[in-house]
Symmetry: C2
Subunit: 210 residues, 2 copies
DNA sequence: GTCTATAAATGGATAGAC
DNA sequence: GTCTATCCATTTATAGAC
């Protein structure tokens, strides 16, 4: 593995585990057993590392968010889709745990991040529209937008929120919990089947976390 | 106005407007036209200022959160209550915009903040239970908890989220939008009246933001 | 590519005069 | 209570040898 890649790999690890703001350029080079000078040879600094990591996340998110188009006709599809999305976000969790800080330190990333949330929002609206078109949901446009806002808040801040709790979840169970939280918003708009759907959600959740 | 109070006043202003992390002890003393040394005479540093500001917020939140007990029997009461809560949070918005950062810089505040969210959560559960007891809502305990989680996420991160948008709201309209977002979660559980309630919510929102 | 050594920049903090 | 001057710590960043 080339040094450049090792730097990226270990940085992501450290950022995710210890928090980006706690890791200095020297910490990263220590963890890699290389000198700070060497690190600076490969990257202009922590900034450049973060930007490169963001590039990856951005590219992966684009693929995920575009890949959904017209394929979320069933409730089960949305369910699985959410897992995929949350897992991708989880892989770059350091970013979502300090969004505010990072985005005003790197205004260029802020612009691109807004691009991601824009696409994410779009994907959600498409999903709701498809489900509505297929009579799975009954949702007027106005309500759909409020619901989208609600889901966007959750998808953006679930990781930041977990950090505030005393008893933190591990990755998988946090993802489960968050998917449940989002899916629980839908049954009220599913008509008759909503009641069963809700029971199914809780059952699945209990089974998975048991 | 005593220097000590001026420091607190101006610090809150600066933190809210420019962001806490951008303001150094020297910036604050400059804004006040006093020397850094003088500032350090009154407070051990930025830490001590932040702690004192947090004390205020904490005390005010305690009053608000305890004051609700048994007084939220009607939907309209919850509505007003939310406004009061959001306005208090807005007054100390610098805190909520960088929660993660602040809480791991000051672990003692993290503990106290968890106290606040715990009380907030409790107040919400009480509110839902009262509304359910009064047959305003139909909500089983399990669903109530998920709904509480959902509302907590919104109440904790509405300010952080606004920061991510290109077109930022001003204070009042952001508060309106957030109250709407929360209240829109309830109509599905209001039975027949839910439909009217929802229409009422949208109408009110449009009227206020027009 | 990688090292060591060191400079430069920032922000937090204190000593001592007035 | 308030000021000036100064120090200290941390972290980023570079120069030059190997």
């Amino acid at each position: 593995m080339k040094t450049r890649d090792r730097i990226l790999h270990v940085s992501l690890l450290l950022f995710n585990e210890e928090g980006e703001s706690h890791q200095t350029a020297v910490d990263i080079s220590n963890a890699l057993d290389i000198s700070p000078g060497n690190l600076y040879y490969h990257f202009k600094g922590k900034d450049a590392i973060i930007r490169t990591l963001f590039d990856r996340h951005d590219a992966e998110m684009k693929i995920i968010l575009n890949g959904a188009r017209g394929r979320l006709a069933q409730i089960e599809d949305s369910w699985i889709y959410l897992y995929i999305l949350l897992e991708e976000i989880y892989d770059f969790r350091f970013f979502y745990r300090d969004l505010g800080l990072l985005l005003d330190r790197y205004p260029d990333l802020a612009v691109r991040f807004r691009g991601i949330t824009g696409q994410m929002r779009h994907a959600l609206v498409d999903m709701f529209d498809e489900l509505t078109a297929g009579s799975v949901l009954r949702l007027d446009p106005r309500l759909r937008d409020v619901l989208t806002d609600q889901v966007m808040t959750t998808l953006t801040f679930w990781l930041a929120e977990d950090r505030l709790n005393t008893d933190r979840h591990d990755g998988p169970s946090l993802i489960h919990k968050t998917v449940l939280q989002v899916m629980c918003l839908l049954p009220p708009y599913m008509g008759e089947e909503g009641v069963d759907a809700l029971a199914g959600l809780f059952e699945h959740y209990d089974r998975v976390t048991a």
